[in-house]
């Protein structure tokens, strides 16, 4: 391949990426604006709260409890190399609340919620249900996307809070049952070490990740191609995009909260 052809290919890829970024941004702004403009659909919002929040609790709980337990084991083993085993409660707390809690919950939401939103909306698109909504004087952005995005914005921080607590509980269980830590001292060290900024950063990350997960599901669902292949591709792309954006947003937000 000649250098000019290679450069042209690179240019095309960059332009395509910028165009996609622009389309997603415009879609997100449009979707967010519909949250504040009537008509509102409380029944759809309630269903989204249930689906995104309540029904995600088991997977969030299982993911974070094992993560917290494994974190305690790793910190204990690593700390033992320089006689710092005693920092397990503090590092489990900070690790779960600042990083692992939000990221694990975000990725689980991307897997569970983004995929289901994208598949559901894409199927509605290919079976003309979205056209049917329009002919029934119902704006698809208001009826389908706004309730889901608002529900994710509210429930994912709550899930992160629950995940943080369960993760710390996982670390507590391992540390007190297997590693010989005193239960009361473990809890005191955990509570003393955490600062309000740690908790605020965790919840803000949860809100950002929830919004990303829901917007990606809605965007790829609404822009799905035809047929079963189109639905499959939309679902796959939505999860990939949500996972990458959640990790990128985590890096940016960590920088904003703790490096500036």
């Amino acid at each position: 391949m000649s250098p000019i052809a290679w450069l042209a290919g690179l240019g095309r890829s960059v332009l395509t990426l910028l165009a996609v970024f622009g389309r997603v941004t415009l879609f997100a702004l449009d979707a967010l604006s519909h949250i504040f403009r009537p008509p509102f659909y409380p029944r759809e919002f309630a269903a989204a709260l249930l689906h995104i929040g309540w029904l995600s609790l088991p997977v969030v709980g299982l993911t974070t409890i094992f993560t917290g337990g494994a974190l305690a084991l790793q910190i204990y083993a690593g700390g033992a190399r320089f006689n710092a085993e005693a920092v397990v409660p503090q590092i489990v707390a900070i690790g779960m609340v600042r990083e692992l809690g939000p990221v694990m919950v975000g990725l689980m939401i991307a897997a569970r919620v983004t995929s289901s939103i994208a598949a559901e909306i894409a199927t509605m698109k290919v079976t003309e249900q979205i056209d049917a909504l329009v002919t029934l004087s119902t704006h698809p952005m208001k009826y389908l996307t706004a309730p889901r995005i608002l529900a994710a914005l509210i429930t994912v921080p709550a899930l992160v809070a629950v995940g943080d607590i369960i993760g710390i509980a996982g670390g507590y269980a391992v540390a007190t049952q297997n590693l010989g830590f005193n239960p009361a001292a473990y809890l005191k060290n955990t509570a003393d070490f955490l600062e309000p900024l740690d908790i605020v950063s965790s919840l803000v990350k949860g809100a950002a990740f929830g919004m990303i997960a829901a917007i990606m599901g809605c965007y790829f669902g609404m822009h799905s191609g035809r047929g079963a292949q189109g639905v499959g591709r939309a679902t796959k792309s939505s999860v990939e995009a949500a996972a990458v954006l959640i990790l990128a947003a985590n890096f940016v937000l960590t920088g904003v909260f703790f490096s500036l």
């Binding site: 008509p39 003309e128 249900q129 056209d131 049917a132 329009v134 002919t135 029934l136």
Partner: protein, 248 residues
Amino acid sequence: MIRMENVHKAFGDNHVLRGVNLEIPTGTSMVIIGGSGTGKSVALKCILGLINPDSGKIYVDGQDAATGDRDAFLAKFGMLFQGGALFDSLTVWQNVAFRLLRGSLKRPVDEARAIAIEKLRRVGLKPDVADRYPAELSGGMQKRVGLARAIAAEPEIIFFDEPTTGLDPIMAGVINELIREIVTEMGATAMTITHDMSSVRAIADNVAMLHGGKIRWTGPVSRMDDSGDPYLDQFIHGRAEGPIESVR
């Protein structure tokens, strides 16, 4: 009255509509026929605003379809989609009463349910169907539910997209009769797109044939058989030989 004036629509290099001119007088039933991929559905979706035409004008009751209050415009329409397009997550009665449960036509739930059950009865479905989900119904029943939904808000204009596709001949005949009866008793303006010639004869007051992105022939259904148009003749008699190219 619905009037399309020189409507063009292309998807990339594929010029689907190349200057469609068509008039559907108020209270009449127009059936648009034509081969697969000739733009029948695109024309219908352009009228509804689901697809924006590249150029040309569409008027509904003298009002430009591209301007004005969109909700008021759509409130005039009911539509039966080819696959039914019923909402999987809602029960049958909630599908039928969708428009009556939200928006400007909102009614109390009990009243909306009663209207839905009455419309289901009108299309030949018993009340016990009301609480089922669309996935629990046969194809013919789903079409009937789609038809009940299309007429639930008593629209002035009803569109039917391939109403008999996928149905056996007896069920297709039942749906055709229902459409004809309902359009007549409601006094609605109807536009149907189909390839099914039995539907054309059962439903149509007037027929238009779309070919090559334009209206090739239009006239009363009674003149369809002696139109003298070779394209229309080939289509309605299903002949492989003729001016319309067929792929073997």
